[in-house]
Symmetry: C2
Subunit: 315 residues, 2 copies
């Protein structure tokens, strides 16, 4: 089996699907950016420092992966985008708050993110902490105030997002475990668990929220959960690989930082080649978990194309 | 008019009411502490560092003022404590997260809180940031998962809490404005606005959440909002005064810090004597706003006693 991503690209992406995905991604990003602009306070609203810092971080050229996934899953199950958009933005707010806090000097100490100064470099540490805090609050406010959805759905979404963002089952638990694991040996099982929490939990929540809003069945929700879990793994492994193989320009952040900090990464544990095999295996499992949808007469091309897209990402 | 707090104590507190309040406070604190213990992960749950840090900060001898107020208002309007407790804890989680982040070196840089080491001194900055982040998430999770309340009520509570905790109408906006105001002259109007956001918003939310859970009428909610707004003002002014008059031992934190940081405070703007007059005026307005409740045949002794209690607090 050839494990190079370039070959994998040729094997998995039919041209039509790639074009569909590109159109979906570019249209959806525009929708998401417009919704984020509507939901967040203008820079001119006092206190202007924190609102300017929030917008600096939210509109920094992010890939909008979690919103895209939420919308793709929701649309797969037949929901209209306008029902999905605000929750999609809430997940992007949670993701952005975590980046702002992660970049702080006492955390990963990153000066560069998506090709420009991180929030604390631009606005100072105190404002960056507050911007992150406010973004988390905005995420829950956004869902709570989304009157297009029933109260029962909103409560279910908020519970889902909070479990995936906090501790002990979510993103903050992953970040804390990651800190605990620095400068000591971790087992493969521990590494999987760190990734599952740190990156996977919020990606799974994005997919599940899309399915919940669309009123997916219990079986469909289980399928989507497994698909998203593999997608999260795929995402983290490509991140680890890019950290050691990509340039700062392509990455938009400082490469090689994980390695220098002796972070628990797949390449550190398995080596680059075996890590690439893990990648292809996660991709195959993600696609297999979509088979049930086909049997339920759902179209799953978009979700398959997303799995391909992550496998092949260069930044 | 004699503006000394000691005289005010004699004037406003009938012995029976003081005893009632003391019993209410001690019973309610026990209930709240037990509920917080139930709602938050044990220290032994991994990642243990962040859960130990969360409990260090939550169980640090806090006064539980926001939960007490929520329960007092809810019970005034006839709700059973078990319906109020989880939301009361959510407000305490928001409050505690804000203290943990406020104490960080880039913010107020406090080593001491409630008589012991602050979270970042004890566990390091990275863990303190994550503990605060997780506590905020827990607050929303707690309300979203409170199945004793209808979904419609939970959504209303989450919207209320998020507006009072974030920006531009809540606590984080107050903290950001406070930072912006450091080392420059502020007007009395700006000072009122900073306090209203930084401390007042969450206190108002606590009172309103109690009233909402109890199904208070629109008029009752308006009355309670005004009462709590004055209570918030009272709370902030006593805080400012204590910062310059109390000892570290009585205060459990480093006194005089506001003054040295040239923070916008009432005594800095008006002097100590005029600030004490403000205090009594806020107390009188708080009590007056409860008059409507009497006309609606509600008992308001407990809420009056709380206003007295803050007026007289020594720490």
């Amino acid at each position: 089996m050839n494990t190079s991503p370039e070959t994998a690209e040729l094997e998995t992406s039919a041209p039509a699907t790639t074009a569909d995905l590109q159109q979906f991604v570019s249209e959806t990003r525009k929708l998401v950016d417009a919704a984020l602009d509507r939901l967040l306070p203008a820079e001119s609203v006092p206190p202007t420092t924190v609102h300017t810092a929030i917008r600096w971080s939210v509109f920094a050229g992010g890939k909008r992966f979690r919103p895209l996934l939420l919308l793709a899953v929701g649309e797969t199950f037949g929901a209209r985008p306008e029902l999905l958009l605000d929750t999609a933005c809430a997940l992007e707010m949670i993701h952005t708050y975590s980046l702002v806090h992660d970049d702080l000097p006492s955390m990963d100490d990153d000066d560069l993110r998506r090709g420009r100064a991180t929030c604390h470099i631009r606005f100072g540490e105190a404002t960056a902490i507050l911007a992150g805090d406010a973004l988390q609050t905005y995420a829950f406010k956004t869902v709570a105030e989304d009157e297009k959805l029933s109260a029962a759905t909103r409560v279910q979404l908020i519970a889902e997002i909070s479990r995936s963002a906090g501790t002990p089952t979510g993103m903050v638990a992953g970040q804390a475990s990651d800190l605990e694991a620095e400068s000591r040996e971790v087992t493969a099982a521990e590494l999987e668990q760190i990734h599952r929490l740190k990156t996977g939990a919020l990606i799974i929540a994005a997919a599940r929220c899309g399915a919940i809003i669309a009123g997916a069945s219990k079986d469909e929700l289980a399928s989507i959960t497994e698909y998203a879990a593999q997608l999260g793994l795929l995402f983290q492994i490509t991140d680890d690989l890019l950290d050691i193989t990509a340039s700062a320009a392509a990455l938009g952040k400082t490469p090689g930082k994980d390695q220098r900090a002796q972070k628990a990464t797949y390449p550190a544990l398995y080596g680059v080649e075996a890590t690439r095999e893990h990648l292809l295996s996660a991709h195959a499992t993600a696609c297999a978990s979509l088979d049930l949808l086909g049997r339920l007469d759902r179209r799953s091309e978009l979700l398959r194309a997303i799995a391909d897209f992550i496998l092949e990402r260069q930044a």
